[in-house]
Amino acid sequence: MSDDIPVLDVRGEICPYPMMLTNTELDEKLPGVSALDVITDHPPALSTIPPQAMKRGYDVDIEEAGSGQWRIRLTKSAF
């Protein structure tokens, strides 16, 4: 995980909070950020965060980052 990419750790949070916290990060705390790593241990968040992020112009890369947790890397899309 690159040190240059900010990390939003939402482990312990359940829906809808992982998605809401991610949207707040992208819209208010880090508007226009080029990349953001979201760490979650709540599988349903893998279905709620990506559509919202893609609507905001981000590509999504979901990778297992530990036992029962995942890293969702959001990268500003060139599209």
Binding site: L46, P50, P51, M54, D59, V60, D61, E64, S67
Partner: protein, 94 residues
């Protein structure tokens, strides 16, 4: 396969499954098969025009150890890449 979908092999061996214009439920059935194929070691590229696919696939894929990359491919179209991720046990990649 269930009808309108197109499946071709890309230049680097990946399977490209074009589900655009494929009606439900075949659309989601083929997406499910794609996850299974990715879990078995193939790289699958899905092209979809159904938003439900980008909500359904990531969770199902993650639970099978499949890594998912997604991006917009056009207005109301998405590109989903599925491939076997590195297995992680106890927080350490093996």
């Amino acid at each position: 396969m269930t009808g309108n979908e197109s499946v071709v092999t890309g230049d680097t061996g990946e399977i490209v499954m074009d589900l655009r214009n494929t009606p439900m439920p075949g659309h989601i059935q083929n997406a499910t098969k794609a996850i299974e194929r990715a879990a078995a070691g193939e790289e699958i590229i899905l092209l979809t025009d159904q938003e439900v696919v980008i909500k359904y696939v990531p969770t199902e894929a993650a639970l099978q150890g499949v890594r998912t990359k997604m991006s917009m491919a056009g207005d109301d179209e998405w590109r989903v890449v599925l491939f076997l991720g590195q297995q992680v046990r106890g927080g350490e990649k093996s």
